[in-house]
Symmetry: C2
Subunit: 488 residues, 2 copies
């Protein structure tokens, strides 16, 4: 080249090339080898990425509520939707299914009562007779009767949906001006959903529908964070934790029978981090017992809820030390570092999660600001479950190019992409989050190798034992090869 | 403690403490030793930080235009304002001085003409007779006559100010909806200022006033990025680059004579990165000559302007290789990585700046996403000049807690805090940026050691030769000791 003829050029362009290659190989997926067919698809993918970079508004810089229609109609989304994305490792029990299904299917079932709370939310309850009155709520009305009296039922149904999700057509900055407000609304939506999904017949159907929605999004395996609540019947009788766990297991098995190219689901038992430390001991003991009784389905234990207002992990150290002390093989999958409050107790949760030997870190949004925790996470291959849309909607970051995962991805830090509470954010399966991650966390630096590694990571870092991981990986590989061939 | 009596506790709380200490010592300033008096001030500072953390709205998460009144009235700002902050290493020639001074002082001088451009900006020109008409601009009017005809002169003067700054009382999200818009307005404001500050008598006064404003903000030394333009006189005659350079030198010397506890100023010659690569050779040659002719004042060379739309450094490789080839000791201080466009050519500028042996990196906003460039910057102690308010106003980041410098600071990466174009952003000296950095880049993890190290870094990483650095450091240390004693 011309540099060689110059002889004395400075800086050495070959060294420059070396540095550029070194950086490319350090990226997540930077060392994935691509077949000739994959390279062909990769070239196509680069062109689609250029389309995204050329937009007037770069979509991952916009709030997802504004970007969604544009994302969904992009060529790259179309490809990501079809792509076998592997496993969804961070989704919550009651935020898997589009709220439209809850309203159009569940609330139309017989015996569904509704009341309106003083703080502008709703509660639902299925009952053969009139349910007991709730404090701070209107008298219960049978939804069937309410609909009969309502002129515009579509409007009513739309309003019911809006109670169960954060998704809105309003300007999200105005609707949710602060982190406190958005978390309050998040918890409200959760409570509005509660009476529907803890009704035993719905509980089973909801999980089935959740698996179906992820399956249709080309996910082959799901690990669900589950509160394992009591469920109830029309006569007010209730089922215990074991029933709930068994229902998850049966539903997952049944789903795999119906769809043999789906691999299955496991459960991470979660408890809200508002719980009194003394009471957590019982929950951890329960988790250890479930681990023994449901080895196929029980994956581990976690604490959930807003970290900044909840108790730090270290306050639970006695209870969390039990499994190691008692020789249990209970695994942890702690939410940690879902915070921007630097130097506070909640900011310390990531280090403590790692010291408690967590298998993965839920979010780890603050990890980049904790070099020791980051080093431990990398050295011990403890991946982050990165949920871009969740972090944006819950106001940790605006422009997703500034999400810490963009830097972590460039360093090849172990991570997987997940969707946390898709129904709350108006997202679906993993495809929306994959769009944000692929386009937002690297732009033109990303390529098919990035996607392939993210998908493989989701199986590699699942709770599945090695023999099942191998099977899941083989299943994914077949789907992947088919995907590559079909999209050249 | 209770852990020792437990005997079998897990994880080991002493190891936990070790990790926490390790992380604290890795931070920028984490190993600075504090005298008993400094520790006392540090304890006070922690309380002030808690006040900031307890606010309903965390100020570095807000746009600076909204946060400024709250920042200015905070206790921590009061302290930062008084603190000897060392040197301002990244400020531009014509954005140092509050626009109020330009309007109230400069535009009231005789012979000041104004015209209004078609794209809603203004141009100024000092002239003994009517200046030649400008295309796309109204006929020139003598400002004195315009004021005489104007009922509300305050309104007129306010409008003149608004042309020369991005600062606005409007909602900044509405006023500047996109990066393209805000950069366009930025360049407009720059052009509006041009005719005032390149008038030779004003040029000298402007720099003097700039030094004064930084001196009053407790800065002891300034390195100014300077275009070294031709300046003009009333009769239309002009002065060349050497005059401009000499004026900087004379003004800085005079200022030090007037204020012996100010250390001085040096100049980094800058050229817009729109320049044709062939023409850059001449500029680099000019820079090498200035280095020989003004060794006291000439610090080095840089390229400026919007990186995403300008040429990448690598296109200038021939010209930029000249100094090394010719044995010149010209230093580089490249703007690089002021971008969110990952994987593009402008995203490559940081690596190239480092390969060209840059002494510092202006911004390096994208460095965190480039692990090899980051490693080179750390290994070779090439600091970033971090300008938080600039990056926020120019729309690279919203919530400053997500600014990459928060992570870099936690790793002890070499960096200094500067203000880029304070007059454009409604900021003053370095105190506003120090507030954003100290509160936003670490919150409760930051302490007096952080501030002390940031101040010392600004001298350590200045272009001053070692003997002068030693003198500057001694001067700073005396001021610092006085500051500590006076604020206990
Ligand atoms: Zn979660
Ligand atoms: Zn600059």
């Amino acid at each position: 080249s011309c540099f060689l003829t110059l002889g004395m050029s400075y800086p050495d362009p070959r060294q420059r090339e070396e540095f550029i290659k070194m950086e490319a190989s350090m990226r997540l997926g930077g060392n994935v080898s691509l077949s000739p067919e994959e390279q062909q698809l990769d070239a196509h993918l680069s062109k689609l990425m250029l389309e995204e970079m050329a937009r007037e508004d770069f979509l991952p810089a916009l709030h997802f509520f504004k970007a969604r229609p544009l994302i969904r109609s992009s060529h790259i989304y179309g490809l990501l939707q079809k792509m076998p994305k592997g496993a969804a490792l961070h989704v919550h029990d009651f935020a898997m299914v589009d709220v439209e299904w809850l309203v159009r299917n569940v609330t139309y079932r017989p015996h569904c009562y509704i009341c309106y709370t003083d703080d502008r939310s709703v509660r639902f309850y299925f009952s053969s007779g009139l349910p007991k009155p709730l404090s701070n709520c209107s008298p219960w009305t049978l939804l069937e009767q309410l609909r009969a009296k309502t002129v515009n039922v579509t409007d009513l149904d739309d309003s019911l949906m809006s109670y169960m999700t954060l998704w809105t057509m309003e300007d999200p900055e105005l609707a949710y001006p602060s982190l406190t407000v958005v978390w309050k609304r998040f918890e409200q939506a959760f409570k509005a959903t509660w009476g529907l999904v803890t009704y035993a017949p719905v509980f089973k159907d909801y999980f089935h529908e959740g698996l179906l929605q992820f399956y249709r999004d080309n996910i082959l395996y799901v690990e669900v964070r589950a509160l394992l609540p009591e469920t109830y019947e029309l006569d007010g009788s209730t089922h215990d934790t074991e029933w709930t766990m068994k229902t998850y297991q049966d539903t997952a098995r049944q789903f795999v029978e119906e769809n043999p190219d789906f691999f299955g689901a496991r459960v991470i038992f979660t408890v809200n981090r508002e719980i009194n430390p003394a009471l957590l001991t019982k929950k951890v003991q329960k988790a250890m017992k479930l681990q023994v009784d449901f080895p196929e389905t029980m994956a581990g234990f976690d604490l959930v809820g807003q970290e900044d207002t909840g108790r730090p992990l270290w306050e639970y150290k006695e209870a969390l030390s039990l499994p190691a002390a008692q020789g249990s093989n209970l695994s942890y999958f702690f939410h940690a570092g879902e915070t921007n409050l630097q130097g506070t107790k909640s900011d310390q949760n990531m280090l403590d999660a790692l010291l408690f030997n967590t298998s993965r870190i839920g979010h780890g949004f603050a990890l980049l600001r904790h070099p020791v925790a980051k080093m431990l996470s990398k050295m011990n291959a403890v991946p982050l479950e990165v949920c871009p849309i969740s972090n944006q909607v819950l106001k940790l970051v605006t422009d997703l190019r500034n999400h810490p995962a963009a830097a972590l991805l460039s360093e090849g830090h172990p991570l997987v992409i997940s969707s946390d509470d898709p129904s709350m954010f108006g997202a679906s399966g993993l495809s929306d989050d994959f769009y944000e991650a692929f386009v937002g966390f690297g732009g033109l630096s990303n390529h098919l190798g990035t996607l392939k590694e993210l998908a493989m990571n989701s199986i590699r870092y699942s709770s599945l034992p090695p023999n099942l991981q191998e099977k899941a990986m083989a299943l994914w590989q077949r789907k992947w090869n088919k995907f590559v061939t079909e999209n050249l």
